[in-house]
Amino acid sequence: MTAREIVDLIKKNSGITWNERSTRDTFKMGDPDAEVKGIATTMMTTFDMLKRANQAGLNFVITHEGTWWNDRDDTKDLTTNPLYIKKAEFIQKNGMVIWRNHDGMHAMKQDYTVTATLRAIGVKGGENSSMRAPVLPFPEATLGEFASQVKRVSGIRAMRCVGDPKAKVGKVLFGPGYATPRMTPDTDVVVGGEQQEADGGFDNVEYVADAASLGIPKGLLMLGHVVSEQPGMEDFAKFLQTFIKGIPIQFVPAEEPFWT
């Protein structure tokens, strides 16, 4: 099977009217008509991830986020960039093909980036959620205890927290990646990937810090963009296995690159 044929199968099986005008969900490099030896699903086509996929004999990478370090994967300013050249050469030399599935995944009735992360951070009730998860209850705890639990069960290393660690909390609103939701009146803790820290549409960081100063129990957990959606690509690999047979399909995670 070719990469293009696999992409057509994904479009047919996602249960949505595919948006063919998406600038994100396109082939990023490699020959779409190349024979696929194995599929690697990942959160982001990092150089490190490409090396591991290649080592595992997987030449078709399905990535949720970009390859060329900007949302539109625009490469016109990168053609003479040494890192771009190195990474592109690696992809081409090893006959790899890259296709992004971002908008399509978030449009699915069940958004794996949401359902899998809610499971990974130990919050129940969002098993069939779309991209816009409802506010979900969890056993009441202090914000510090809840943050510790999220860190422990998810294995995320560089999570950042805002709010009073002693505040009693019991309702969480989650959004994946850059879709960190704004705090709402019926939410105690917002959990997201990343968000501009200030001067954006709604600045959660300042809001939650001020709530703490006023004695209003609110919290914010910023997991990191990639780790906040990454478990969804493991579930997506399992989803692919239900309609693509005879080709190895593996989840190859992007690294959480931080030290603190």
Binding site: D48, A147, S148, A158, R160, R182, G201, L214, I216, F258
Partner: protein, 306 residues
């Protein structure tokens, strides 16, 4: 944002209003927040359109100023400290009311901010109300000074950060972001930054923590991908306020995977801007001499789970 040239008419307006405020005569005319702002507007120059980001965000501009506090962000904790040290005009680089809109939407736009969209805070929000009441009860006035400080005094944000990190004398070229510091390692630089900026949980680094560091770049605020692509390899360590993780952070991660030892450290947007507002307090003292000007850092608002 490019520096705006002050028009002749606007200059006359500002000069006129400064003169009308009668500021040089101490003790005879109360120094209002409006008068202080007009004086700093005249000193910074440029156009100050009513629809711009900079302007009064809370309080009564006719309030008599006892003292001025500058900060990267007028959080509740900053406001409390401002009151404690006897200042009542707070000059904030970032918004006060949770976003660029800096408060509830105008009545005509009501309804747009509902749901989980990214409209501003709602007028009945308890945190918004609590903060607004605190400001009113304590007679505070909050003015946002962002675009004009950045465009007219663009280098102060970088110079202020370098100064707090003890690197003022290490700059390679004037007005540039590149510094050469005594040979050390990435984790040593991070330890220094943590100590000097009094950081808590917001710092994250990418690359080899043992990497040798001589050249560093300072980017208070945010760094865009094109800037990063152009300049990243000029230094051993890029130190920025914030970046987009799925863009810049993984550029740094990929460079590291490609075998280069250089690294990226993000310290947090607000903490990276605090030092530039310390420089603003020092500058204000040269423009407004009648009342004290203090810097109150907003600080690192993040902590780490244990």
């Amino acid at each position: 944002m490019k520096p705006a040239h002050i028009s002749r008419r606007r200059f006359a307006q500002i000069a006129g209003s400064v003169a009308a405020a009668g500021l040089p005569i101490r003790g005879t005319t109360a120094l209002t927040a409006q008068a202080v702002v007009e004086r700093l507007q005249a000193a910074l120059g440029g156009e100050w359109p009513a629809a711009g980001l900079d302007g009064f965000k809370a309080g009564d501009p006719s309030t008599t100023v006892k003292g001025i506090a500058t900060t990267a962000m007028a959080t509740m904790d900053v406001l409390k400290q401002a009151v404690k040290v006897g200042t009542n005009l707070v000059i904030s680089y970032e918004p006060t009311f949770y976003g660029r809109q800096d408060g509830p939407p105008a009545a005509s736009a009501a309804g747009r901010g509902g749901g989980r969209g990214f409209g501003g805070v709602t007028a009945d929000d308890p945190v918004y109300q609590g903060k607004k009441e605190y400001i009113e009860k304590n007679g505070l006035v909050v003015f946002r000074l962002h675009d004009h400080w950045q465009s007219r005094k663009g280098d102060e944000m970088t110079a202020g950060l370098a100064d707090m990190l003890g690197w003022s004398k290490n700059r390679i070229k004037p007005d540039d972001v590149l510094f050469e510091i005594p040979a050390t390692t990435a984790e040593e630089v991070v330890a220094q930054i943590r100590k000097k900026l009094n950081l808590r949980g917001g710092l994250r680094a990418v690359g080899d923590r043992k990497a040798a560091v001589r050249r560093v770049m300072l980017y208070p605020g945010a760094v865009t991908p094109p800037t990063m692509w152009q300049r990243y390899t000029e230094a051993d360590l890029m130190i920025a306020g914030e970046v987009r993780e799925w863009e810049n952070t993984y550029y740094a991660a990929d460079i590291f995977s490609a075998g280069e030892k250089r690294g990226l450290v993000t310290i947090g947007r607000v903490v990276s801007e605090d030092p530039g507002m310390r420089a603003c307090a020092a500058w204000l003292k040269t423009v407004v001499k009648e009342v004290p000007a203090h810097w109150i850092g907003a600080g690192d608002l993040y902590w780490r789970a244990v």
